[in-house]
């Protein structure tokens, strides 16, 4: 493989990794705070993609001609509305089951996943929805004779936006009272409540943050692939979940790293091997990691004194 193909796949993998990382954060945060896998999270991402699409159509109908302004508006709208969905899912399907056995909210999550898919299918139709390319152009770097590296503007935007969001988000979790309350709830919910933390509200905020990050991923998917349908949440969700487990479920840097690893595998696999086996490779790596590092790449079990 020549250096230009290598660099090109690196850029593509980084873009994919940004997607998966953003979605994986939602899985890992929810797991961290209430110990359940939110199987409806992939569908929250799908809802985010649809809201983005509707937003673009709406704003262009309203005469917003500038593409950057449109993207910024849609970003805000998608994050807000998707957050409402994420909040509602927790409120309706998970909170009433809190304190019951672990399996109950899991089944409820699968139920919510089906509900969201069918809701979008019914209201938006089952056909694939296209969006004309909005962000065009990019940078072309010449690496030698006949060797070029193409970075589209959209790829740069996706990576930049993801890095900015992840940095801001890490700051919130590490340094603010809200982040401390979240971590405290995660580690000892009863004690957090004794100190005055409204545990229910903290959990709601976790779902809201997770859903709005998924909305950004949904917006990016809409722009990047140009087509969406009601079923995109399933595969993206499973892959992002894999990323979260790969990185160590419950670990935020782990989710980002896991996303990156999955993105890289997906972009490099077809260079060497048959594209048809790409997903097999992704899940194969998951199996290997779980065999040799059961708690994931960064999910080191802490040694604590009791």
């Amino acid at each position: 493989m020549t250096i230009d193909i290598f660099l090109q796949q690196l850029v593509n993998g980084l873009t994919l990794g940004a997607f998966y990382g953003l979605i994986a954060l939602g899985y890992t945060m929810v797991y961290g705070i209430i110990g359940m896998i939110n199987f409806a999270h992939g569908d929250i991402y799908m809802v985010g993609a649809f809201i983005s699409l509707i937003g673009f159509l709406l704003f262009s109908a309203l005469g917003v001609a500038s593409v950057p302004v449109a993207i910024l508006l849609v970003l805000v709208v998608a994050m807000v509305f998707t957050a409402v969905y994420g909040w509602a899912v927790e409120r309706i399907a998970y909170r009433p089951l809190r304190g019951s056995q672990r399996l109950a909210p899991l089944i409820s999550a699968i139920g919510m996943s089906i509900v969201l898919q069918n809701f979008v299918q019914l209201t938006q139709g089952a056909r694939v929805k296209p969006l004309p390319p909005m962000v065009q152009g990019g940078y072309r770097f010449t690496l030698g004779t006949d060797a070029h590296l193409n970075v589209s503007l959209l790829q740069a935007l996706i990576v930049f936006l993801t890095v900015a969001l992840m940095a801001g988000f890490t700051y919130i979790i590490r340094r603010t009272p809200l982040g401390r309350a979240q971590r405290a709830t995660e580690q000892d919910a009863t004690m957090a409540a004794l100190l005055g933390v409204n545990v229910n509200r903290t959990i709601s905020i976790t779902f809201i943050i997770g859903a709005s990050l998924a909305a950004v991923a949904g917006l990016m998917a809409t722009l990047y692939y140009g087509v969406i349908d009601f079923f995109i949440g399933f595969v993206a969700g499973i892959k992002a979940f894999t990323a979260a487990v790969l990185g160590g479920i419950g670990s935020l840097p782990g989710a980002m790293l896991g996303g990156l690893v999955i993105g890289m595998i997906e972009s490099f696999w077809p260079v060497y091997f048959d594209l048809a086996y790409r997903d097999v490779a992704v899940f194969g790596v998951l199996v290997l990691v779980l065999i040799f590092r059961p708690s994931g790449l960064l999910g080191r079990p802490e040694i604590e004194k009791v």
């Binding site: 009272p177 401390r180 309350a181 405290a184 580690q187 000892d188 004690m191 409540a193 100190l195 005055g196």
Partner: protein, 243 residues
């Protein structure tokens, strides 16, 4: 300051408190001693709303707090140092203390931190260390420090001596006495270590099987032969009175 009236509470269908009445007066150290499983921890936790009271009432500064959610009770000026300390293990000592100030105006934090470190200078060297890596005694200090940062008017202490070396227990109880004296802090102390607790307490009562059986001043109970026999090992044994 705290009035508990006819409190019934328990877990699932098992009742652990069968009508408990306790008063804690402002500025005093009140202690409840009793054996394992007598319901002491349940009493303290029910005051904080977890588990909820089945019947009876809890009044704090004249206000009925029986039905309030746990986090609101935590914001009223009641600081709970639970059994087993419940330090956040993967947060640093400083972050644990910051959690104590969660419901307090952050402008107070620096002064409050200095106040806590004056009582527990050991914690000062460990601020950036994770809570889970502290020794048992240090964790207990951190738990009390975290409670103090919340600027409480009443401190609930559940078995602070649990699992600590006798010397550390002595030290800790001296500090509790200091806090009570210096800050006029009301302290509601639950202990199995009856000798240390009664020595410290202004008033005390004994809990047996979910009921308060004996009340008096700390000194009175310390001198009571029945109490000595049952709870104070080695002091005036009289076998037939032991439960």
């Amino acid at each position: 300051m705290l009035k508990v009236r006819g409190l019934h509470s328990g877990y699932g269908r098992i009742e652990a408190l069968h009508g408990v009445d306790v008063d804690v007066e402002a500025g005093e150290i009140m202690t409840v001693v009793g054996a394992n499983g007598a319901g002491k921890t349940t009493l303290l936790m029910t005051v904080c709303g977890h588990p909820r009271a089945w019947s009876g009432e809890v009044l704090f500064e004249g206000r009925d707090i029986t039905g309030l959610p746990m986090f609101e009770i935590g914001r009223l000026g009641i600081a709970h140092v639970p059994e087993g300390r419940h330090i956040f293990p993967r947060m640093t000592v400083l972050e644990n203390l910051q959690m104590g100030g969660y419901a307090v105006d952050p402008r107070h934090f620096d002064a409050d931190l200095q106040r806590v470190l004056a009582y527990f200078p050991q914690l000062g060297n460990r601020l950036s260390q994770r809570g889970g890596t502290l020794s048992g005694g240090e964790q207990q200090m951190l738990a009390i420090g975290r409670a103090l940062i919340s600027r409480p008017r009443m401190l609930l202490l559940d078995e602070p001596s649990l699992g600590l070396a006798p010397l550390v227990v002595r030290q800790l109880f001296d500090i509790i006495a200091d806090i009570n004296r210096d800050e006029r802090m009301t302290v509601f102390l639950i202990e199995q270590n009856a000798f240390q607790a009664l020595r410290l307490a202004h008033r005390a009562c004994i809990m047996v099987n979910g009921r308060i059986t004996t009340r008096g001043t700390g000194a009175e109970l310390l001198a009571d032969p029945a109490v000595q026999a049952a709870y104070l090992e080695g002091a005036a044994p009289s076998a037939e009175e032991a439960p």
